[in-house]
Amino acid sequence: MSDAGPILEVKDLRVHYGAIEALRGISLEVSDGQVVALIGANGAGKTTTLRAVSRMLRPSGGQVRFRGEDVTRLPSHAVVARGMAHAPEGRGIFLNLSVRENLDLGAYLRRDRAGIASDVERAYTLFPILAERRAQVAGTLSGGEQQMLAVARAMMSRPKLMLLDEPSLGLAPQVVERIFGVLREVNASGVALLLVEQNAHKALQLAHRAYVLETGTVVMQGTGRELLASPEVRKAYLGE
C-alpha cells in the first residue's frame, strides 16, 4: 500500500509568527496509505507544520497539495471537507459535550446516517472505554480517554489523511501502547497518517517514512527503520 503516489505534497512551506520565521521551507510527502512521522526537539516546528498543512494558520510561502489539489489558500473547514482530519495538540475535543456528541460532530460534514451509525459502533469497538462513557461529558474523561476520543472523532469524517499532534503526550506508557495499537489499525484500514511525536522511538517504529526537523527545516529523512538505526538520531532523540 505504500507506493501509491503522494496524497500530500508539501513544498518549501514557510510560516512566520510576527518577525520570527518558524518554518524555513519545509518539504515533505505522504504517500497514500503511509504513516509519516515528524520528530524533533521542542520548537523545531512540528506542530506549526501540521497547522499550516491543515490551514489552521496561514503559511507565508510555499505550497500544500492534497490529493493533487492545491489547498494552500483554502480555509480550514474546506480542507476537512476534502478528506483531511486534524486531531490538534491538546486534543481539541468539545469538553462540555458528551462522548457521543463529540463523535457526531466529527461526522458533521457527512449526510449518510446509516454509515455514521456504523462508524460510531466501529469507534466503540476500537475504543471500548468510549462506549462505556458514551453519555458522559468529555471534560470528565481521563487524559488517555480524551486522546482516544480525539482520534475516534477524527476518524468519523472518514478521512483519507489524518494529522495527529502528539497523541501520546502526557499519557501513561500502557495507554500510549493502546493508542499506537489503534493508530496501526487505523492505518491498516487505509488511512494515511502524518504524525508529530515527542516519543521518537514509538513514532519511528510505526512510521513508513520520517522527517527530522530542527529550527524550522528538515535536517534528515528516511524510512522509519533507517532513522531508528542512524547514530545521529539515536544520540539526539532516542537518548543513547
Partner: protein, 349 residues
C-alpha cells in the same frame, strides 16, 4: 419525522395562535394592550439576540442599532403609503397589507445592516466583537441624529397606528419557531459547536465565519422587526429609543433567562418588561436595577434561570404533554447543550 409533519409542526403554532390573538386584540383595553405589545417586542428582541449571544456564544451589544434600522425603514414606508389605497380593497385592509410590506422591508434592511457589520467584525472574538457591535449601534444612532430625512434628534412622529396584538403575536411566534427550528437543525449544531470551541468546530469542517455571519444576520432581521413593531405602537421613532441602554436591556434579558435557552429568553423578557412597568415611578433607576439583577444572578445562579435547558425538556412538561419524540430526546439526558436530539443526529437534515 417526515418533511410534511415538520412543516405542520412549524405552522401549528400560527394556526392555534391566530384566533386567540384576534380575540385578545378585540377585548384588551388600549393601556394594557401597549404593555402586551412591549412584552412581545422584548420577547422578539431577547430570543433573536439569544441566537447570537446564546447559541453561537458571540457577544453582540448592537441589537438596538438593528432595531433602529428596522424602525426607520418601516416608518418611512408606512408614512409614505398612509393615504394610498389598493384598488378594490377597503382602506383598513390595504393599510395592513402595506404594513406587512413595511415589516418585511424592515427585516430586510436590518439583515443587510447585519451583513455589513457582521462580515468584518465576526473575525473578532469576545470583548472585541462586543466593542465593535456597541460602536456600530452608536454609529447608527448618530447617523440618524444627523440626517434631515430621518428627523434628526426629534425623530419621526405621527406614524400611523398599525401595530396590534395580532401582528405582535404572530411575530413572536415566528421568532420562537425560527429559534426552535434552528436549535434542532444541523445549522444549530454548527452554532453550538462554535460556542463550545471555535478551533475544534473549524477542525470538524464547520465554516465558522460563515455560520457566525448567518446567525448575526438572522438575529439582526428579527431586531429590525421588533423596532418596526414598537415604533408603530407608540407612533414614534426617535434616536433616543435605540441607545445602547436598550441593547444592554436585551442582553440582561438573555443572560437572566439563560444563555442558549429559548424558553429562558421568553420568560425573562416577559418578567422584566412587566416588572419595569409596575415600577414605573423608579424608571430613573432602571440601570441600577439591571446591575443589581445581574450581580444577584451571577452569585446565585450564574447559568441563568433556565441554563441552556428548554421548557420542552423539563420533566414536568414532558409528563403533562407526553410525546414519543420528546420522550426519546429526553432519555439521552440533560447534557449542557441541546445537541442531543438523536432523531436528527449525524446530519440527517
Amino acid at each position: 419525522m417526515t418533511r410534511a409533519r415538520a412543516l405542520l409542526r412549524s405552522f401549528l403554532p400560527f394556526l392555534v395562535g391566530l384566533p386567540i390573538l384576534v380575540v385578545l386584540e378585540a377585548v384588551t383595553p388600549p393601556d394594557f394592550s401597549l404593555i402586551l405589545v412591549s412584552v412581545g417586542v422584548n420577547v422578539i428582541l431577547a430570543v433573536s439576540l439569544n441566537v447570537v449571544n446564546g447559541f453561537t456564544g458571540q457577544f453582540s451589544l448592537g441589537h438596538a442599532g438593528f432595531m433602529a434600522v428596522g424602525a426607520y425603514t418601516a416608518a418611512k414606508l408606512t408614512t409614505a403609503l398612509a393615504g394610498v389605497e389598493l384598488p378594490f380593497l377597503p382602506q383598513v385592509l390595504s393599510d395592513q397589507i402595506f404594513f406587512a410590506l413595511a415589516l418585511s422591508a424592515a427585516m430586510a434592511a436590518a439583515a443587510l445592516a447585519g451583513v455589513l457589520v457582521g462580515m468584518p467584525s465576526l473575525r473578532l472574538r469576545g470583548d472585541y466583537l462586543a466593542i465593535v457591535t456597541l460602536g456600530f449601534g452608536e454609529i447608527i444612532r448618530s447617523v440618524i441624529e444627523n440626517l434631515k430625512a430621518l428627523g434628526q434628534a426629534t425623530g419621526l412622529s405621527g406614524l400611523p397606528a398599525r401595530t396590534n396584538l395580532v401582528w405582535v403575536g404572530i411575530s413572536v411566534i415566528a421568532t420562537v419557531v425560527m429559534a426552535y427550528r434552528l436549535a434542532t437543525s444541523t445549522q444549530g449544531r454548527a452554532l453550538f459547536a462554535i460556542r463550545e470551541d471555535e478551533i475544534a468546530a473549524e477542525a470538524m469542517g464547520v465554516d465558522t465565519t460563515g455560520y457566525k455571519v448567518r446567525a448575526f444576520v438572522i438575529s439582526a432581521a428579527y431586531a429590525g422587526l421588533a423596532g418596526a413593531l414598537i415604533s408603530h405602537a407608540i407612533l414614534l421613532a426617535t434616536p433616543r429609543m435605540f441607545t445602547f441602554v436598550r441593547s444592554i436591556e436585551v442582553v440582561v434579558m438573555v443572560v437572566l433567562g439563560g444563555l442558549g435557552s429559548i424558553t429562558g429568553s421568553v420568560v425573562a423578557a416577559a418578567l422584566l418588561t412587566v416588572a419595569l412597568e409596575l415600577l414605573r415611578e423608579f424608571q430613573a433607576y432602571r440601570m441600577v436595577v439591571y446591575a443589581l439583577l445581574l450581580i444577584a444572578l451571577m452569585l446565585l445562579r450564574p447559568q441563568g434561570i433556565f441554563g441552556t435547558r428548554e421548557l420542552w425538556n423539563l420533566a414536568l412538561f414532558r409528563r403533562l404533554f407526553r410525546s414519543p419524540r420528546l420522550a426519546a430526546a429526553a432519555t439521552s439526558g440533560a447534557s449542557p447543550t441541546e445537541i442531543r436530539d438523536d432523531s436528527t443526529t449525524g446530519g440527517a437534515v
